[in-house]
């Protein structure tokens, strides 16, 4: 399977934090093709193990989260309209007049209704609507709808991945299915090269809310190195250069307290050796990625973060450049292959 095809399946698929099980078959099938074993852990993380030539003397964990932001049903009112709340960080301005799917006993199509401009007074369009004042209209009345869905069901925006110019694609859950796709491509790359380290590819749960998945997967695997593969803010006119990275110029290699400086130096050197473009992004403390959990698991794990540039993060039209996914995968593969047991002590020395 091509990486783009997997990304499309995953971005179109549904797995709001806590409801990732909807995606497990696709990911297990894909990961299983290029690794030695795949398992589902107790919380729902998918862990694929690719053995290296060193018999497990060095273990590298790569984590990409499979959950996405979304919503949850909180009430069905007497008119049959659904009231809802968010799971993960969502700007309410991005959801008005959006088509959604409610994952009840069956998938139900719904519309987040908007007030027609004809009925608004002049000042109304200057007010942002709160999520609690929005409703989802399914075209069912309360009685019929109550048979199909219940409070607590998850809701996702309905958005099929589309292709834009220049290998760019747009979809609703590139954050962080793009990371999962990058892991898939990394496995394929590692098929072609000799690597000493064992690599564990983990599609984690609940990064957007609690990072529970990264925490427990890291504990179980007990890796020597942990890498979070996530998305970074792709540059657009409303963002400063200082807090965004360019599209198509390779992954951001995060710098800051969450990152092991020695490992980062190696990663950047490997990128230089193999002509993989990389960019620098900076975050002083615990990053908003799985690396935050990885770094403080057990007695601590040296961590890295690779950020695939992504525009319009946490909207339903997230845009990425597929070149950046393959740059990320190449870098991850070459980096893994560069790690030898006998140099670990020096590499990790502060």
């Amino acid at each position: 399977m091509e990486t783009k095809d997997l990304l499309e399946i995953l971005s179109n698929g549904n797995g709001v934090s806590g409801f990732e099980f909807n995606l497990k078959n696709e990911i297990i099938d894909a990961f299983g093709k290029y690794t030695d074993s795949v398992r589902l852990d107790r919380l729902g993380n998918i862990i694929a193990h690719k053995k290296g030539s060193g018999n497990g003397a060095v273990k590298i964990l790569m984590a990409a989260h499979m959950d996405e932001i979304g919503f949850m049903v909180t009430d069905i009112d007497k008119k049959g309209f659904i009231h809802f709340t968010n799971i993960g960080g969502i700007d309410p301005r991005t959801i008005l007049a959006q088509e959604v799917t409610i994952h009840g006993k069956e998938d139900i199509l719904g519309l987040i209704g908007s007030k027609p401009p004809h009925l608004q007074d002049q000042s109304e369009q200057e007010k942002s609507i709160k999520m609690e004042d929005m409703i989802i209209d399914t075209g069912f009345d309360k009685e019929a709808l109550s048979e199909l869905i219940s409070i607590g069901d998850s809701i996702t925006v309905n958005r099929k991945m589309i292709s834009l110019l220049n290998n760019r694609v747009s979809g609703k859950a590139m954050d962080d299915r793009a990371g999962v796709a990058a892991l898939f491509e990394t496995m394929k790359e590692l098929e072609k090269i000799n690597h000493h380290a064992d690599v564990y590819f983990v599609a984690t749960i609940q990064e957007e809310v609690t990072m529970a998945g990264a925490l427990t997967a890291t504990y179980g695997i007990n890796p020597d190195i942990g890498i979070a593969v996530d998305v970074g803010f792709g540059r657009t006119p409303e963002l400063n250069n200082s807090n965004s990275i360019e599209m198509g110029k390779g992954p951001g290699v995060l710098l800051g307290g969450n990152i092991h400086p020695g490992l980062r130096k190696r990663l950047v050197a490997v990128a230089g050796d193999y002509n993989v473009p990389v960019q620098t992004n900076v975050w002083p403390g615990p990053s908003g990625t799985d690396a935050r959990a990885i770094q403080i698991t057990r007695e601590g794990v040296p961590a890295l973060v690779l950020s695939i540039p992504l525009r319009y993060m946490h909207t339903s039209v997230e845009v990425l450049d597929l070149k950046d996914v393959s740059h990320t995968a190449k870098l991850l593969a070459f980096f893994s292959a560069s790690i030898e047991e006998n140099e670990m002590e020096g590499l990790l020395c502060f």
Partner: protein
């Protein structure tokens, strides 16, 4: 499925060609005359077997609200202006289709992570928004898009819920679809169908259409305001979904002829067709021009209640569609008999 084809076609005001061609193609062989007039209206004539009666005009507008590309910036992003009344708040985080080649694009927004506290409570102005087509430079974007290209929402037709339909542009493709159904039916009546242009930008097509047709009476078919989200008193709800065709009383462009309205109500009651009144004076439709063209004519406005109009999504009830058809058919028959 006719309504699927009609709603998935792009027809932003001033750019109705795709819709017009589709309607023309659909009606060929069913009517006596089809012509496109000098400003783009499609005028269709269905003759009765025994001519000599009065002239009935039935109008529905082909156009929909949308956007127009007004600039391409140095990074290849497209700036746009609205065509017709659009609440800028419904545009964020949507996919759109640009120009004749239907190039896909997205309207994104700043990540919530980088927003200042409570920034989400401020509305994004149309000028802050742009369309991303994936281009990396102005030069590249210009190979695919030109200033003046029309932009339509990218929403598919789908049946959902308890016999409801979701699509874009049901205002007024639902009227076009009803008018096509009437014209294709075997009703023996002298009917002039007018599929008008640019209703959403000021009822542009309707006047010239009526001028050519010189009707004795006109029916305007619409997908009209239906809003039930807030807890409103029943007098504040313009129409209710599933309660039958909405008969216009007054809007910003027409005070509907009382005698004709009473007759329409009587026809609905006689035929056991559920109906409701359109209980708002807001909005307007082609009647505003038709009833004052030439020496004037009486008009009636009959609408399918349509939720969330002028946004990328709209919703109607199939029973409202069917009952609207029944009412219009009954009116045409009474008109033909000379009873109106």
């Amino acid at each position: 499925m006719l309504l699927k084809k009609l709603t998935e076609a792009s027809g932003v005001s001033g750019n109705e060609k795709e819709v017009r061609d589709l309607i023309k193609h659909t009606l060929e062989g069913y009517v006596d005359e089809i012509k496109t007039d000098r400003i783009g209206n499609l005028i269709v004539h269905k003759k009765e077997s025994n001519p000599g009666g009065k002239r009935l005009m039935i109008a529905a507008h082909m156009d929909e609200v949308g956007l127009l590309v007004k600039d391409i910036d140095s990074s290849g992003l497209l700036k746009f202006m609205p065509v017709g009344g659009i609440d800028k708040r419904v545009l964020v985080s949507k996919t759109v289709s640009i120009g004749e080649k239907k190039l896909p694009g997205v309207i994104g927004a700043k990540p919530i992570h980088l927003q200042k506290r409570n920034e989400w409570s401020k509305v994004l102005d149309m000028d802050d928004l742009y369309i991303d087509i994936g281009a990396t430079s102005k030069e590249e974007a210009e190979k695919h898009v030109s200033i003046g290209d029309y932009v339509a929402f990218d929403t598919s037709y789908m049946e959902m819920g308890n016999a409801t339909i979701k699509a874009k542009a049901l205002d007024d493709r639902v009227g076009c679809s009803l008018l096509i159904d009437i014209l294709k039916s075997d009703i023996d009546a002298e009917i002039y169908g007018a599929f008008t242009v640019m209703e959403e930008v000021g009822l542009v097509g309707a006047g010239p259409a009526a001028y050519q047709i010189k009707p004795d009476m006109a029916i305007v078919l619409e997908g009209t305001l239906c809003y039930e989200i807030e807890e409103l008193d029943s007098h504040q709800m313009p129409t209710l979904l599933g309660k039958g065709p909405a008969i216009s009383l007054i809007d910003r462009t027409t005070v509907y002829d009382r005698a004709l309205r009473d007759q329409v109500v009587k026809i609905a009651e006689k035929n056991d067709i559920p109906y409701q009144y359109r209980k708002t004076s807001m909005g307007g439709n082609d009647s505003g021009k038709i009833h004052i063209t030439g020496t004037g004519c009486t008009t009636t406005g009959i609408s399918v209640p349509t939720r969330y109009i002028h946004s990328p999504l709209s919703l109607i009830s199939k029973s409202d569609y069917d009952n609207t058809y029944k009412l219009v058919e009954a009116i045409v028959k009474e008109f033909e008999k000379g009873a109106i």
